[in-house]
Amino acid sequence: MQQFTCPFCGLRNETEFHFAGEAGKIRPDTLNEVSAEQWSAYLNHVANPMGHSREVWVHLPCQEVFIMQRDTLTMAVLGVEQLRREPK
């Protein structure tokens, strides 16, 4: 069993985590005309890289959404980034 690091809870079993998609996609600007191709690319197309990958993950028990960088071939975790901002 591999373990991933939740920025809130720390190291937990991989089965507690949900892969939510590729990180860094930008939603089309709906103030302008958006073509079907642009919507489709945003909604469906993914880079699906072999090797270094930057992904959005959710830790299901605490619902923390965060970014994880992984190597999709070796399955090594290269780092996690917190998306949550601390309240002022």
């Binding site: 069993m1 591999q2 079993n13 991989e14 089965t15 985590f17 949900h18 892969f19 079907a36 191709e37 919507w39 489709s40 690319a41 909604l43 469906n44 197309h45 993914v46 880079a47 699906n48 890289p49 072999m50 090797g51 990958s53 992904e55 999709t72 071939l73 070796t74 399955m75």
Partner: protein, 417 residues
């Protein structure tokens, strides 16, 4: 030299000390140019080359394969063949495959050991049985075969399953496709390879595509580990690695790669003669001719290109299996492996142009590529030869993601693929 396989030729060769058998395909050096290059020497690539040569008369074809024939997902599946789908488009596609499989051993003169032992989907409540009746009606309308079984009939066909009253998921009934079953995965690859080679197709193994040669946005060749090879048309049948070629050629795909695991047990005396599937238990199994139980389940939850198994899904599948058929709890596993499958948002394949002129795609089969090999090859050959879709492959064009005419089998037939 003996070329065809028959009882007569085996006897004839027996008298000559079996000295007349020859390797069944050549290992040619790549020519500098071909009419069509198929990237990927798995089942789909080999079948495509065979149907291009046979149905369309195109002989100047090369298949480039980075490893050995059928060493990817073709050699890593659970060999199930079925067409129990919901939408008419899917029934037409997968049933074409079953029909081609039915004639394949004779057509290729190579025994692919297609055993139509029945594909039995178990259901565990009255509500599930109503959904099964709906699925049966859809399959019958789609032109495939389907029948409902009650618990008594299931007990007769597969007594090894769990019929106890305290079972986690008691068996209420099943939907069976009698024409479904299993095949010999390696034989499918080797049979197509032998037949394609006999028609003049160059099968080039250990030849990895390193880059594509684009001229004015048109694909003209591939840079391989054996040097550049040019062609006027290209077909990619590379399953879980489709996104890597997309990156080289500059297009994108709605595909995420995952590992799918499977397991084989030690050989046993016959215990089951159908393919038994239960979505509730998250496991399915059949028994091979050698006696090993071939066990499969759902996808891994973490996207991956690593062709190896891991513990969480192994535990989920095997714990499901031993509740599904408790008598198998002490059976030992012999092998355990994973293949990299190409999952699309609607769990249906992509057949069509890539977006780069000259390059066409046959991918996105997800966890169900093996059963679709003959149809995938047949339809992809039609597309590569004519530049146009066969009516059966047209609904699976990648443009469906722009028009939103999805064929969502993941939701409709509830098959995790």
């Amino acid at each position: 030299m003996t070329k065809t396989y028959s009882a007569f030729n085996i006897i004839k060769e027996a008298f000559r000390g079996h000295k007349g058998w020859r390797p069944v395909w050549r290992s040619p050096k790549p020519k500098p140019e071909y009419q069509i290059i198929i990237i990927g020497g798995g089942g789909h690539g080999l079948a495509t080359a065979y149907y291009l040569a046979k149905n369309h008369g195109i002989k100047n074809i090369a298949i480039v394969e980075k490893g050995w024939l059928g060493g990817g997902n073709t050699g890593r599946n659970t060999t199930a063949i079925r067409s129990n789908y919901f939408y008419p488009e899917s029934c037409a596609l997968y049933d074409l495959s079953v029909r081609l499989y039915e004639k394949l051993s004779i057509e290729l003169n190579y025994n692919v050991m297609f055993s139509q032992r029945g594909m039995m989907m178990l259901y565990h409540s009255q509500a599930e049985m109503e959904m099964a009746a709906r699925a049966m009606n859809a399959m019958l309308l789609g032109g495939t075969d389907a029948r409902l079984l009650d618990a008594k009939e299931i007990k007769k066909r597969a007594p090894v399953l769990n019929f106890r009253d305290d079972a986690r998921y008691p068996i209420h009934g099943a939907l069976i496709q009698e024409r479904g079953g299993t095949g010999r995965h390696d034989a499918v690859a080797w049979g197509y390879a032998r037949a394609a080679d006999a028609l003049g197709v160059d099968i080039i193994q250990n030849c990895e595509v390193k880059d594509v040669i684009l001229e004015g946005g048109v694909m003209r060749g591939v840079e391989t580990s054996l040097g550049p090879i040019r062609a006027s048309r290209f077909g990619a049948a590379i399953a879980g690695h489709s996104s890597r070629l997309a990156k080289m050629a500059g297009y994108s795909l709605p595909i995420q790669s995952y590992a799918l695991q499977a397991f084989v047990s030690e050989p046993l005396k016959p215990v089951i003669d159908v393919v038994a599937f239960s979505a509730a238990y998250g496991a399915y199994f059949s028994q091979s001719d050698k006696g090993g139980l071939v066990i499969g389940g759902g996808l891994d939850r973490v996207p991956s290109y690593g062709q190896r198994g891991n513990m969480p899904m192994q535990e989920a599948v095997l714990s499901g299996l031993i509740e599904f058929a408790p008598a198998l709890a002490k059976v030992k596993l012999m092998r355990h492996w994973a293949g990299i499958v190409d999952v699309t948002p609607d769990s249906s394949p992509l057949i069509g142009p890539s977006g780069v002129e000259g390059l066409y795609l046959n991918c996105g089969w997800g966890t169900g590529g093996f059963k679709a090999i003959p149809a995938g090859g047949y339809l992809f050959a039609h597309l590569l030869a004519t530049g146009n879709h066969h009516p059966i492959s047209r609904p699976f064009d990648p443009s469906r993601f722009q028009s939103a005419r999805l064929i969502d089998e993941g939701a409709a037939s509830g098959i995790a693929h």
